[in-house]
Structure formats: C-alpha cells, structure tokens
Symmetry: C2
Amino acid sequence: MTSTDPQPGTGRPSYGERLAAVTGRRGRLCVGIDPHPGLLTAWGLADDPSGLEVFARGVVSAVGDLVAVFKPQSALFERFGSAGISVLERVLADVADAGALSVLDAKRGDIGSTMAGYARAYLEDGGPLAADALTVNPYLGLEALEPAFTAAVASGRGLYVLARTSNPDSDQLQLATRDGRTVAQTVVDEVQARNDASSDGLRTTSRQAQDAGVGSGATGPFGVVVGGTHGQAELDLSAFTGSVLVPGVGAQGATVADLAERFSVPRLLLPTSSRGVLAAGPDAPALRQAVTALVAETAVLG
Amino acid sequence: MTSTDPQPGTGRPSYGERLAAVTGRRGRLCVGIDPHPGLLTAWGLADDPSGLEVFARGVVSAVGDLVAVFKPQSALFERFGSAGISVLERVLADVADAGALSVLDAKRGDIGSTMAGYARAYLEDGGPLAADALTVNPYLGLEALEPAFTAAVASGRGLYVLARTSNPDSDQLQLATRDGRTVAQTVVDEVQARNDASSDGLRTTSRQAQDAGVGSGATGPFGVVVGGTHGQAELDLSAFTGSVLVPGVGAQGATVADLAERFSVPRLLLPTSSRGVLAAGPDAPALRQAVTALVAETAVLG
C-alpha cells in the first residue's frame, strides 16, 4: 500500500495518495464524461446546454458512488460557450460531492504567465473550475508547464501529461528523436523527474520504497497519458511512479486484461472508459451494471 | 455540423483574403488581449470578472478602429470560469463590430470527435465563441486536427498551428527529428500541404500566382506560430503561403524591423504585441499612440 504522508507543507494528502485511497476502495476505473452530440441524442436529450446538464450531471448522479475517477472532456462543454462551462463547474462540484476524483481533460499547454493562468483556472483552491487533476500538452516543453506542476503539488492536485497517443498519425511527432530518445520517452522521463522532486522531504521516496522492498511504493502526483495500443515495447515506463491514464478502454477495443499484459507497470494504470459505459444510459441501473462490470475487470491491475 | 463544402462553394472570402484586406487597410499588427493580473492592477482594476470585462472590452473600444487583428488569450479568461468565458464572448463580438479580425489564442488540440467539439466551439458560424481564427497544438499529429482544418475552410476561418516557440526549453520537442526533418519543419510542411489543398478549385492558387509572376500570391488560410527569435536559419518558410503569427513583439525585445530581417517571407508575418501596447493603458489616447507607432513600424513588412 502507499504512504499516507501528507504533502510537505500543506498538510493535505498528495494527488497520488488520494488516487490510491479512492481506487483502493472503488477499483481502478476512470469514467469519461464525453457529452458528444450523438450520445445526447441517444439519451433522448437536446444538443443544447440543458441537455448537456441533464446528461453530464446524470452520469455522476447514477454512478458517482461506484466510480473512483471521472474525466469530463472540456471540448464538449466548451462547444456551448459560457453556458457549457457553467455546466462543467456544476459537474466538477458533483464529482467532489460524490467522493470521487475529477481529471479534467482539457490538454492545456502554454508558457510562463499564460500557463499560470491555466493553473489558476484548474489547479488552485477556490477556482470555479478546480479539478483534482488536469491533462496538459507538452509541445512547448516540459519547463513551460512548470506553473502547473508547482500549482498542482502545492494543493494536492495532479497532472497528466500527453506522452503517446493511439491515433494513426501520432508517430510523426511523438516518435521523433533527439539525442537518441523519442519525444514520448522524453516526456515520461521529464515527468518522472518531477515526481522524484515532489517526493523530496517525504519519509520514503517511491524508489527507496521499491529498493527496500517495502511494497509497490507511493504513486507520484504527475502522470502521463498513453494510448492503450502502446505498451512497454516502445515506451519504457519501468521507472515511472505516476499513474498512467489510458483512454478508450471498452468501446475502442482494448480490454483491461489487454492493458495488464501490455504494460510493465499495471499497478499504475488508470483505464478510462467513456462510450463503453455511457452507451448503456440513460437508464441508471444499466449504467451501474456497465460500471460494475468494468470495475470488476480492473481487479487484475492489483 | 461541419460542412464538407470546399471554400469555393460558400461564397465567403477565405481567411487569407480577409486578412489581406484588413491588413491592407490597417497595417499588419496583431494586438494581444492578455488580461494578466498585474495588468489589471496597473490599470486600477480588480482582478475579477468585472475588472476583466472593463480591461478587455476597453482595449477594443480604445483601438478597435486602428488594429487589423486582436488576439485574446483564452487562459486569462478561463481563470474566471464561466464568468470569464462570458466576457470572452462579448470581446469577440466587440472585435467583429470594430471591423477587425479575432485570433483566439487557445492552443487547443485533440483527436476525432473531441477535436470536432473544439471546432464547433470556435470555428463555426453561430457559436458563442466563434473567432476568425484559432491557435491549435499539433502534439497529437496534424491529421488529428483535421476537423478544425475542415471547419475553418468551410466557413472562411483560419488556424495557426504551433510550430516553433521561443521559450528556452522548446528545442527538446520541436527540434526532435524524424526522417531527417524537425518536428517544427514537419508542422510547417504539413500546414502548407493543407494550404495547397484548400486552394484547389480556386481560380488561381498561390503557387500558380507566384509562378506566373502575378504578385505575391494569395495568403493561405492556415498559418503557423513561430517565435520571433527564430528565423529562416532553422526553419524553411520559403514555400509557405499562410501567415506567420509572431508573438511578443515590443515588450520581449524583437522589433518589427528585426523580424523583417530574420524571416524569409516578411510579407506573411503577423507581429503580435501584447504588453508592449497594453502597458500604455488605460488612457485611451496613450493606447492609440502606442498602437499607431507599432502599426507604422509594420510598413516595412510590405
């Protein structure tokens, strides 16, 4: 099991600790809240802000007590402008009220004081859109994201940095190399360096814990996003201690068992299912059944 | 939602044509609307949604008739959640009312139907946040951005794809190579391929225009973002026909004259100044004077 040490200085548990606690109780499943037009229609809802609200809050209402992590997709709220963002604010509050964690999938990335603006929007206490973790994009470099790393660790929040995606043309940029290392591997290594730094001052770092054989070690606050079709063959995650957000389980083919085989660190995986769960709605018992079945599958991840 | 009609079928001028027209009248300056906390304070405003509104709409009110293009920075509106996005909606409407073009600096990037959600938010008629152009992030690959390319060209809008930024650690990803080409150059080349495709069916493509010696050719709808410290030495823009958005002119050191020397295609540059202009406020005559001086400098770009 993981350390329960509080984050140094804050007295609040780190994101890794909070993630370990809730997945320990509820299983290791992340449910994507993706209000696509087609899903709203399938649920008998209008493709407008009121339909969006019924859909997104309905998901949390139906399965909020069963799910460890929810991942709202910001794009599908943004398409309704401020009215959609207002719904997103309420959904994030609902997730917290349900005792689950929220990973806002917004893939933000910028530099300096602009990146600090994103951090303030999504990673600081009291913000209307504060989530437990945020997905970010490393195209401008890992140092450019520093305001987000700093804000996250200061308030017990997390980040998931895009590393390797499963769309067909992702190789072009993500497998480009510099100094013999792919871009995707550089992202993993740079994120891990920040996990190591964030654990300074804790009684036991995850590496020390591993070296000492005292269990699987603490989960770092900073994770990566890796497509389910990619595994250890092309990306070395063996030294990684953050969690690994894997989108598209279920509907897009990969099963949780596939992932457990494909990745060298199955205990860190956070498999995410969106349509695979949401297509069972709007009937709440059917949604609960779909979630329960997927949560049971995640037991293999340990 | 996205029409597959090519630009020639819409009867609306392309983004490149609209950009050429407005910069022909007003000069080639883009003013960044960056409501940083420090700027709001310097203007004597509260760092809250009402201060944000006075600041951002005040900039457009003061210089909207002088400026060809405004670039609101989404992050600095997002930090106030839906209340900030509501202000952004009004700012985008103000920019259109002033006869200027808007480039929303949001650096979005995702895949498939999620990217289509962003396109619907920012690049389609009738959307509350529809801008004349949007900045996007290519980390997931250029094909992943296809819904945005399609939506933009269908409605006479544009995109600026991040290529090469001037922050110190940007080399790590942007100068990684694959098949002998840097990531940044691949972005430029892939964006240009889409400019070429978008001009199919038009009476005269830009290349044909250049070959025929009939002037400098049409401006493609798809541009790139390139930091002002980078020039032709490391990035080949000689075949590029989109516009090149160059942030940070003025406050961060580079002058328009520097850029004209540094880039091989000065006629395509769109120099952007944010703090260099905004620091002159809130006094409207002082803002107008700062803008007028910078616009005069852009005459060197032709």
